[in-house]
């Protein structure tokens, strides 16, 4: 028996459009998302990002340059011959910002292709640096412990995971079997676990004494940072995407709970939030099959939305238009920023002679979602930038978009 599918629109339709408030041209390629924070404590936020040519740049929220720091070359002429001149100083990861030395001001921590972890103060002055034996391509994790001390965790292509104190002294390093390009996480468990993925596709769990707790073999590169989340029963879940195109959900003992397959590689961490106000957390992520997916915490698909090219960056979840409902912000390699309805659009399957039309209100309410049918991703707004989107951040109604070609765009929602 055939079915007829009805699409329903949200009663309170979203209006307005996205427009550019300003853009900033870095004159260099960009490889990662920006970070937004008030680093100098003046009550105003700054936007920080690294460039492919090796500059760490700070601009204000109006797109004016505050300062920039250039990574210096540490090589002899002969050593330079062995390096790719275009990438030898590259900053591939998003900088991290935290007061790591308890001086009341925030510091900026980032790694470079040269294999050096740099720490700058709020004004862009270098405080210390730490050399490793290979490129540092992932972001560093900064963790404040109960004793008010901070730790800096990061991986390197030399296959080591490093743990430094806030002054740049090495506590320990853990040897993995393969280069580490993902940013580690620390689980919020009574005995914290450090979780990170490697290029040979192994997810490691180690404790704060650098002892191996467990390993989970995925088999393909893990470049995305894992995310830890508690489910409805307060059980810890570790969710990570890999370049085999799958999302893996692993329990705190390293056992697979579920996996969700997509047709493209996954490069960025999933975003977890209650996107539809049902009191439960959902998982949103992008894949190189061009799609953005929303899953339940149990790995069931809620909806997906297909863009025209790869979705490499993590989606943001924010209320863009200030209507009290969340939207999903996604940047795609097709140069577009998509703002998606977090709840998707409901499609109802009506089977003539079997389903009653009564009660099919077509709204977002409980009654409707209990009817047979499915939900699909729904685009609200779209904005075309000048390049491949490598990351974005959200602050006070502004979407800050980094494009590979070197432009930073500030996009805002206008009601008319």
């Amino acid at each position: 028996m055939g079915t007829i599918t009805f699409g329903f629109k949200n009663i309170a339709a979203k209006s307005g459009h996205l427009e550019e408030r300003w853009n900033y041209d870095t004159n260099s390629l960009l490889l990662a998302a920006p970070k937004i924070a008030d680093i100098d404590g003046d009550g105003k936020q700054e936007i920080l990002f690294g460039t492919k040519e090796g500059r760490l740049i700070s601009i204000d929220l109006d797109g004016n340059l505050k300062w920039s720091f250039s990574v210096s070359n540490e090589y002899t002429d002969m050593e330079l011959m062995f390096l790719d001149a275009e990438t030898s100083n590259s900053i591939s990861g998003t900088p991290n910002i935290e007061d790591i030395n308890n001086d009341g001001k925030k510091e900026i921590v980032f790694g470079t292709e040269q294999g050096i972890l740099h720490v700058l103060d709020y004004s862009g002055k270098e405080l210390w640096k730490f050399p490793t034996g290979g490129p540092i391509r992932g972001a560093a994790l900064i963790q404040r412990f109960a004793n008010n001390q901070t730790g800096v965790f990061f991986g390197s292509h030399d296959k080591q995971l490093y743990f430094l104190n806030g002054a740049g002294q090495l506590y320990w390093k853990f040897a993995a079997d393969s280069p580490i390009e993902s940013c580690p996480i620390l689980t919020p468990t009574p005995v914290p676990m450090i979780i990170f993925g490697t290029n040979d596709g192994t997810l490691y769990s180690i404790n704060l004494k650098s002892e191996l707790l467990w390993k989970y073999a995925i088999g393909r590169k893990i470049l995305a940072q894992a995310v830890s989340v508690r489910d409805e029963k307060e059980n810890l879940r570790i969710i990570v995407g890999a370049t085999d195109g799958d999302i893996y959900c692993i329990d705190e003992n390293g056992a697979l709970l579920w996996r969700f397959h997509t047709e493209g590689a996954i490069f960025s961490p999933v975003t977890v939030d209650d996107i539809n106000n049902d009191g439960k957390k959902e998982i949103v992520f992008g894949s190189c099959d061009n799609k953005v997916y929303a899953l339940t915490i149990d790995g069931k698909e809620l909806w997906n939305y297909e863009t025209d090219f790869w979705v490499v960056t993590s989606p943001l979840i924010a209320d863009i238009d200030g209507d009290g409902r969340k939207e999903i912000v996604v940047g795609s390699y097709d140069h577009n920023i998509y703002i998606l309805d977090a709840e998707g659009s409901y499609l109802l399957d009506y089977v003539p002679g079997v389903s009653g039309i009564v009660g099919q209100t077509g709204q977002y309410g409980e009654a409707l979602t209990k009817q047979p049918g499915k939900t699909k991703g729904k685009k609200i707004w779209q904005y075309q930038t000048e390049g491949i989107i490598v990351g974005c951040a959200h602050i006070d109604g502004s979407i800050i978009v980094n494009t590979e070609s070197g432009k930073i765009n500030d996009l805002v929602h206008r009601k008319t």
Binding site: Y75, D77, M78, E79, L80, M81, F82, L83, D84, A85, S88, E113, Q114, G115, T132, G133, G134, P135, H157, D158
Partner: protein, 273 residues
């Protein structure tokens, strides 16, 4: 970047200087093309490639770079001289260490004669075996080749480049993802706009022209040289398998080297018959 032409015949070509073959391919290889010169051991792939670069340098003052990954500079030079090439007609520059390249290039900057630059990577490898660089060894040697080509191109206007051989590069650099890595290497060469001969050892079964197969469609042209046995005699045969932007005859020709010149004999017939 590859130049756009506006009419037929506008493409400038680099002859192979193989009599009987150049005229079957509109005069030669289009400038800026990347050409695979492939065949089994002993087919004179290196000699055919060198022949084109040498003649362009000697007759038109061009600058050619020959990077040898397997054969040492003295061995290569002995071979060339023994074949009868007159090296006094060109400047010869040997690069066997990486520390004074600019100074070496400076010596010939204003010369009106053509120049052949030989880079002996085997020698360089022995010299710098203890060097500490953060890049992995795999990426390191590809970068050395890229940086050498780029440096010479920017300081002297490099016209021709021979990499001898792709197969040795694969031994030196274990590619994690050959399709992706080779795409970027070919893209690099195309962007440089240097006519390039990549020497490729064919697999023994002859099933493809290169190690990974991907090189076949990334390159602009394929010249195939093979050995064919006739009774107790073995002859070399040459054919143009592919040459973009060229109306090339794809027949098989017998290849001979006589009196210091290569000849392709038409018909694909065994000259012994």
């Amino acid at each position: 970047m590859e130049k756009l032409i506006t009419r037929k015949g506008e493409i400038r070509r680099i002859p192979l200087y193989v009599d009987g073959l150049d005229e079957k391919m509109e005069g030669g290889v289009p400038e800026g093309h990347i050409v695979l010169v492939c065949g089994a051991a002993g087919t004179m792939k290196s000699s055919v490639s060198f022949n084109s670069v040498y003649n362009e340098a000697a007759m038109h003052g061009k600058i050619g770079l020959y990077i040898s990954l397997e054969q040492s500079y003295p061995s290569l030079l002995n071979h060339i001289i023994n074949m009868g090439y007159d090296l006094s007609k060109v400047n010869i520059l040997l690069i066997n260490n990486l520390s004074n390249i600019s100074a070496q290039l400076e010596q010939i900057r204003n010369s009106k004669r053509g120049t052949l630059i030989f880079a002996d990577l085997g020698c360089i490898r022995r010299e710098i075996k203890d060097i500490k660089v953060t890049a992995t060894v795999n990426e390191g040697w590809i970068n050395v080749i890229k940086n050498l080509v780029k440096k010479i191109k920017s300081e002297l206007e490099l016209d021709l480049f021979v990499l001898d051989s792709l197969s040795a590069l694969y031994v030196l650099s274990k590619f994690e993802n050959p399709r992706v890595e080779l795409f970027y290497i070919f893209q690099f060469l195309k962007d440089l706009d240097v006519t390039t001969y990549l020497i490729s050892e064919m697999p023994l079964d002859g099933s493809r022209y290169s190690e990974f197969g991907v090189e076949d469609f990334l390159c602009d042209g394929i010249i195939h040289i093979r050995l064919t046995q006739f009774r107790r005699q073995v002859v070399r045969e040459i054919s143009i398998v592919k040459m973009r932007a060229t109306n090339a005859k794809t027949d098989v020709f017998s290849l001979e080297f006589k009196d210091g010149k290569f000849q392709a004999l038409y018909g694909g017939q065994n000259p012994l018959l």
